[in-house]
């Protein structure tokens, strides 16, 4: 079982040969959305292949802590999909697509029960039902949770289902582009690198599902994993798909700030859900000034901006954040409800949260924008190219509710898998143009022949620091312009990106290619942020501090004739029966 195997020798750096894999539905990414899509596609009889950049089971979904939002009404019987729908639209500051929010709120309930039937073990109510906890800006207690390890349980459960079904997967494969058939314009496959060996791979498929997650790594202080570099958004953009709401970046209010090596690491909202209190250096419970009604459980954008304002006003903690205290709940309760947080602070910061306060500050957490999709099928503007999860846009609008991402990935992962499988059954395998394959091989291998000396790891740091400095929580035109100028300099520098060493497990090579997509993602974010001359949800402009009804539009970013262009599209208005469900808080 564990006998040593012979490892193939490395590939020559100039080797242009590739292996070909053929399937009906190609799923890129194996977080919650990708796994759920693959299970659905497989169950509907499509020959499915999952390809993911990290090891199976390591995707960023694993980091989700607090819970999965669905209106089961187990703890608060008054809860319903209608209220969940309203909360989602209101939190999204009316930029969300109403139909996506409707589908989401309705289907999240069944997706949670389905996950339980797949084997996930949720915490229980005294009656033996799935327990639900309070979370910021949810009207009712709605987050089904598994301690503070909900994401881990979700991904492990789906991973087990994938393996039990025998769905083929290839982990540690980085895809580099999506191909389209020239005569029909349909998605026709993808190109990739087998990271372990350095061999090149051509994937031919009738449908491609992007489930590649977000791009939080373009920021210096982020809770996101290594692989969240926006490759999927870059690939979609290069394939001609429309992006939407790229200016909308969620700053989670509470990230660790000390020690420096772990800055940005998430402190789950569940700490506040379980009664955590935020105070400034004067010991004031400052949320009473900003949202006296909801206090610490206000919307994420409100809490993040409040913390930012306290720090800017000189009332920050000694480490440059604010204090978060849960110690009043007692050691037993904390260790039971927040075991990971207890371990995390003890291991990294020598702080015992059952006794001492935490120091926290906002950290980049989630991207509401991404690839524009059809609400029913999750199809992008490119035929037979689908997108689900954080890589897609439209559900969360200008701000995402905590816990909504885990239900998002299940609801739209399943829908993408279903639509892709059904549509793939009706068509023949599209062709991929040989010239395009050759061009992509040249592009992919170019870092080996680069004469420059740019270090991709260092460049990633430069990109991240530029975004942190110029495209932060509070933005203004001057900063954004400066960010754009720095981005142009970085783009020049990127021409000299250099892969050092051979092809097998060479991150200086794969990271070089990631840097190129990160630059594209950053440009789309900055240009959209410049465009939106108002403050709405996660997007705050100090030069346009008010929300402006004329900006009830989605900003679309698309590549035309090699140039990045933008279009404004009014947010579709919900039909009256849904409009009547929307209850503004204030």
């Amino acid at each position: 079982m564990w006998a040593p195997r012979h490892i193939k020798d490395g590939v020559d750096i100039s080797d242009r040969s590739y292996d070909e894999k053929v399937c009906d539905v190609l799923v890129l990414g194996a977080g919650g959305a990708g796994l759920r899509a693959a299970i659905e596609s497989h169950d509907r009889g499509a020959k499915t292949l999952v390809v993911c950049k990290s090891l199976l089971g390591k995707a960023h979904t694993v980091m989700a802590e607090g819970g999965i939002a669905a209106a089961l009404g187990n703890v608060d019987p008054k809860d319903s999909w209608e209220v969940h729908f309203s909360d989602t639209i209101v939190e999204g500051q009316h930029l969300s697509n109403w139909r996506m929010a409707e589908i989401f709120a309705k289907e999240a309930i069944e997706r949670v029960y389905e996950l339980e039937r797949y084997g996930a073990v949720f915490d229980r109510t005294p009656e033996g039902k799935i327990s639900q906890r309070a979370f910021g800006a949810h009207t009712y207690r709605r987050l089904c949770n598994i301690g503070d390890r909900t994401g881990l349980e979700l991904i492990r459960t789906l991973q087990d289902q994938l393996i039990a079904r025998g769905v083929p997967f290839m982990d540690e494969v980085m895809t580099t582009c999506v191909f389209r058939e020239s005569k029909t314009g349909r998605a026709a496959g993808a190109f990739g690198i087998d990271i372990k060996t350095g061999r090149l791979l051509l994937f031919r498929a009738k449908a491609v599902i992007l489930a590649t997650g977000g791009s939080g790594r373009v920021y210096q202080v982020t809770s996101n994993s290594y692989e969240s570099t926006g490759d999927g958004i870059g690939m979609a953009y290069r394939a001609g798909a429309e992006l939407m709401d790229m200016e909308m970046i969620q700053f989670h209010p509470t990230g660790m700030i000390y020690p420096p090596g772990v800055r940005g690491m998430l402190v789950t909202e569940a700490v506040r859900g379980e009664g955590g209190i935020l105070t400034n250096s004067n010991g004031e419970r400052f949320m009473s000034k900003y949202d006296p009604k909801r206090m610490e459980l206000s919307a994420r954008d409100v809490v993040a901006r409040s913390i930012y304002a306290e720090i800017m006003a000189g009332r920050g903690s000694k480490g440059g954040g604010v204090y978060l205290d849960i110690s009043h709940r007692g050691a037993d309760y904390i260790k039971k409800k927040l075991p990971s947080m207890y371990d995390q602070f003890l291991a990294f910061a020598d702080i015992d949260i059952t006794k001492d306060k935490m120091e926290v500050a906002p950290t980049v957490h989630y991207q509401m924008g991404g690839v524009r999709v059809d609400p029913e099928t999750a199809e992008t503007s490119v035929k037979m190219l689908f997108a689900a999860g954080e890589v897609a846009s439209g559900l969360h609008g200008a701000n995402r509710l905590g816990g909504n991402s885990l239900s998002d990935i299940l609801v739209f992962g399943k829908r993408a898998g279903a639509a892709a499988a059904e549509r793939a059954a009706a068509i023949d395998l599209p062709s991929v143009d040989g010239g395009e394959i050759e061009d992509e091989i040249s592009r992919v291998l170019s870092p080996f022949s680069s004469v420059g000396g740019a270090n991709p790891f260092h460049m990633k740091e430069e990109i991240a620091s530029n975004m942190w400095m110029h495209v932060g929580i509070v933005r203004k035109a001057e900063d954004l312009e400066a960010g754009l100028a720095e981005l142009e300099r970085l783009r020049e520098e990127a021409k000299g990106l250099k892969a050092v060493g051979g092809r097998a497990y060479n991150q200086s090579w794969t990271d070089s290619l990631q840097v190129l997509d990160m630059l594209t993602v950053c440009e789309a974010m900055i240009r959209s942020a410049l465009e939106r001359k108002e403050s709405r949800g996660a997007h705050t402009r100090s030069d346009f501090p008010a929300k402006d009804p004329k900006w009830l539009v989605n900003i679309i970013t698309v590549q035309e004739n090699g140039k990045m262009v933008r279009r404004m599209v009014p947010v579709p208005a919900p039909p009256p029966e849904l409009q009547n469900l929307i209850k503004e808080d204030d």
């Binding site: 564990w2 006998a3 195997r5 490892i7 694993v62 301690g147 393996i163 039990a164 772990v262 990294f348």
Partner: protein, 261 residues
Amino acid sequence: MGVTGEESKEKKVVRLRIQRGAGSGTAPPRYDTFEVPREDGMVVLNAVHYIQSHLDPSLAVRWNCKAGRCGSCSAEINGRPQLMCKTRVDSIDGDITIEPMQAFPHLRDLVTDVTANWKVAAMIPPFTPKANAGDTFTFYQADVDRSREFRRCIECFLCMDVCHVVREHEADYIGPRWVVKAASLDMHPMDGLNRSKFMKDAGGLGFCNITKCCQEICPEHIVITDDAIIPEKERVVDRHYDPILWVYRRLRGRAKADETR
């Protein structure tokens, strides 16, 4: 060491010895030494990142969450299997030697090939709800708490690395991580399978001789041997080696039914 100048220099820099190269060849491994500026609260993975970014971009290291949650950055640090992202530099006196996990085929530098685990995962009879489970399950927090520990596993495979059966013998034993998986399914309140025959035969549970190394190094503090392996062994014994229960089951005619209960 011992010289004052050396000592103050020691405090400002971290010296790392890192195994380099590719393949599980027979030649002795090569080591490179790097000096990295020491930072407050620094973990080993931070130091490795500094090397990639400033000293040698060709250094290969697998990592992802940098928060002790994903289990990607497993390695042997001064000979002890640990997560690089969770090992504080200030917890180690002197130089830090980092080597890849030894139980798995070596790919390059600090990276090993752990894909054999997926083949083993596929062998384990999956979660199968009881026939009367219904569409929405009813069970209680006490049932949840019983298997919660096993569900903390982040699949870092450090327990597999430290297991001498997996590491040094070509035995057909699924290894500690996969016994924990089986235990988590066996203790699932709604699971209807009995995995003891699998554990006895294909699972090779008998190969474990309870040295408890796995539970000592688990970064999630899962008490692997005491809480998972021994109860699984007891289940096998009850089912297959207990003569009284064997006679009882024969008399009740339940021998067959029990396997698929």
